[in-house]
């Protein structure tokens, strides 16, 4: 149970004959996804391209992406977790009552057909978006789909992948993992990395007012986070690094204008399948890059006395249990 079964986008392009988009609207949010990676591509294994592939869209409303889909499954809001759990039961041959299936907004015939197609596929791939991962159930919705993909491997090849949002979210996730062991929701207050989403994740820390300063880079929480979190950012010293004026920069004490990454500053961005892409800037900017600003802040901090009095080591929270 648990875990994650995935691949790079090139594998999807080469092999995936069955693609499910769940709770995402690639036609509008990731416009090049269809043409570059998924349904439109021809490959040696799928020489007829679009004709050799089946695309299913699962969502609560008919978005523009539905036009591209062979099958559009409109489900009731908040029933994603239930439907995925039903699929997990049905693929193993466990009985689920018709009226239970109907609760999700789909009929038994439709669900049976979906399962038959999934099992018939040579290489299935599920992409999931914020419509799944950010609605009620959150991480458990994503976990459910990842579980379903893993369990489908008892029948055929299946993988799953999140459609990450804008910016280099994946890059931050990848680097935090190699430096700290954890992807996000990390506290360093004891001198070593600790992980507990819900306790240390940014939005929760802000909503509870658990921090007394904020340093924000490459994000605009002022536009997306709940009001109590934004209120707290306005209350405490908030420093923002951003090429633009943003909702967050307006409430920040300090806004350092930086060169836009990938346009005027070089670096690496990680694609949603965790492949690193070099960013080669086309323009020059009078502003420093984020990296340079952070490096200079670090150098300035290094000149100050160490954060602990000499000889005092923080202690681990004992590893009982």
């Amino acid at each position: 149970m648990g875990g994650k079964v995935t691949c790079t986008l090139g594998e999807v392009k080469q092999r995936a004959d069955f693609i499910i988009y769940w709770g995402g609207n690639p036609a509008e949010c990731h416009p090049r996804h269809f043409t570059k990676y998924t349904i439109m591509q021809k490959s040696r294994f799928l020489p007829r391209g679009r004709k050799d592939r089946t695309m299913v869209l699962v969502d609560i409303r008919e978005t523009k992406s539905a036009k591209a889909a062979d099958i559009f499954l409109q489900i009731r809001p908040g029933k994603d977790f239930e439907l995925i759990t039903i699929l997990r039961a049905l693929i193993k041959g466990q009985p689920v009552a018709d009226e239970q299936i109907a609760e999700t907004g789909l009929s038994r015939a439709v669900v049976d057909d979906l399962i038959a197609r999934m099992k018939r596929a040579k290489f299935g791939c599920m992409f999931f978006g914020m419509g799944l991962s950010m609605t009620r159930g959150k991480h458990m919705n994503s976990a459910a789909l990842l579980c379903l993909a893993a369990e489908m491997n008892a029948f055929t090849k299946f993988v799953a992948m999140p459609m990450r949002g804008h910016g280099n979210v994946t890059g931050a996730d990848v680097i935090m993992r190699w430096q700290t062991g954890f992807p996000f929701g990390i506290s360093f207050n004891r001198g070593y990395p600790r992980y507990n989403p819900g306790e240390f994740s940014t939005v929760d820390v802000l909503v509870r007012g658990d921090c007394d300063a904020a340093f924000i880079i490459g994000a605009d929480p002022g536009a997306t986070m709940p009001q109590p979190a934004i209120d707290h950012l306005a209350r405490i010293p908030t420093i923002v690094l951003d090429p633009h004026v943003t909702h967050t920069s307006r409430i920040a004490r300090v806004h350092i204008t930086t060169a836009p990454q990938g346009i005027a500053a070089p670096g690496t961005a990680y694609r949603m399948d965790e492949l690193p892409m070099p960013l080669k800037p086309a323009l020059k900017s009078p502003y420093p890059s984020d990296e340079e600003v952070v490096r200079r802040i670090n150098e300035a901090i290094a000149r100050k006395p160490f954060w602990l009095p000499d000889g005092r080591q923080p202690q681990m929270v004992a590893t009982l249990g």
Binding site: T85, A89, A97, R136, R190, G198, L320
Partner: protein, 270 residues
């Protein structure tokens, strides 16, 4: 006579104080206790910065004040008692293996996280993840009793293997998520996805529940163990009906997405 701790000033950021456990302070003098290290954010400070400490050497600890931001109280304690007059922060009694904790107020998330034994009684509300496994762990609460008179948040008893959790008020989503054993009693019901992906164990609800589609009704019965449970819980004033004259329990098996060896019993008054 117990050791009493009065909160002098509320911490401005979370205060990590896993030293507030009978196992640590029980054998210390008051001045030794005052100089124990607590973590106010990243700063290491003596406990006396935040607490007045009085009383005699004891395994019984009493706290007064709004400890909302004080975390890890009673962490891994194996004996003695902790009484909190006021609210208390996250991870109360996490990993505890004995003794008892009583809170006359509200508690936050992770009450009794991965606890092994002992008793926690929260008279107010609790947050999420009561008796749950920490992220990535396979097993939550291994044994012991957690009573919450008020409401509780998400993922109560997530991956618990044994022990008892009673929630007096309403609970939120995912009660008994991936449960492996033990019993959860819901006196005022829960929101949705109760028992999702449960492998084994029992959830008893005295109120109707909206169940996962992957649970199937397997009949009506008043199992003997409910009677035993009822007696066990009586000392805390909790009454579980079990007489056939009062009503019946409708039994559901699931979760079919996993092994379907768990059960949910929903009380139907006569």
């Amino acid at each position: 006579m117990p050791i009493t701790f009065h909160l002098k000033r509320p911490p401005t950021v979370p205060l990590e104080a896993e030293v507030l456990s009978p196992d640590v302070v029980g054998s210390l003098t008051n001045s030794e206790i005052r100089s124990l290290t607590v973590y106010h954010g990243k700063r290491q400070l003596p406990l006396s910065e935040f607490f007045d400490v009085e009383g005699e050497q004891s395994d019984d600890l009493v706290f007064h004040g709004a400890l909302n931001k004080v975390r890890w109280v009673g962490r891994a304690m194996s004996r003695g008692s902790i009484t909190v007059h006021g609210d208390v922060g996250m991870h109360l009694g996490a990993h505890m293996s004995g003794g008892r904790i009583e809170v006359h107020g509200n508690a936050s998330d992770w009450v009794g996280g991965e606890m092994k034994k002992g008793l926690i009684h929260v008279h107010g509300n609790a947050g999420g993840q009561v008796g749950a496994a920490y992220r990535g762990s396979n097993i939550g609460m291994k044994d012991g009793v957690i009573l919450v008179d008020g409401s509780a948040g998400l993922e109560v008893g997530m991956r618990m293997r044994r022990g008892t959790i009673v929630i007096g008020g309403p609970a939120r989503d995912f009660v008994g998520l991936q449960m492996k054993g033990g019993t959860i009693v819901l006196l005022s019901g829960a929101e949705i996805r109760t028992g999702a992906w449960m492998n084994r164990g029992t959830i008893i609800s005295l109120q109707p529940l909206q169940l996962m589609p992957t649970f199937a009704c397997s009949g009506v019965q008043n199992p003997v163990f409910v009677n035993l449970y009822s007696r066990f819980l009586q000392s805390w004033g909790i009454h579980l009906p079990f007489a056939a004259s009062e009503g019946v329990y409708r039994q559901y098996r699931g979760d079919l997405a996993v092994s379907a060896k768990g059960e949910i019993l929903i009380w139907q008054p006569a």
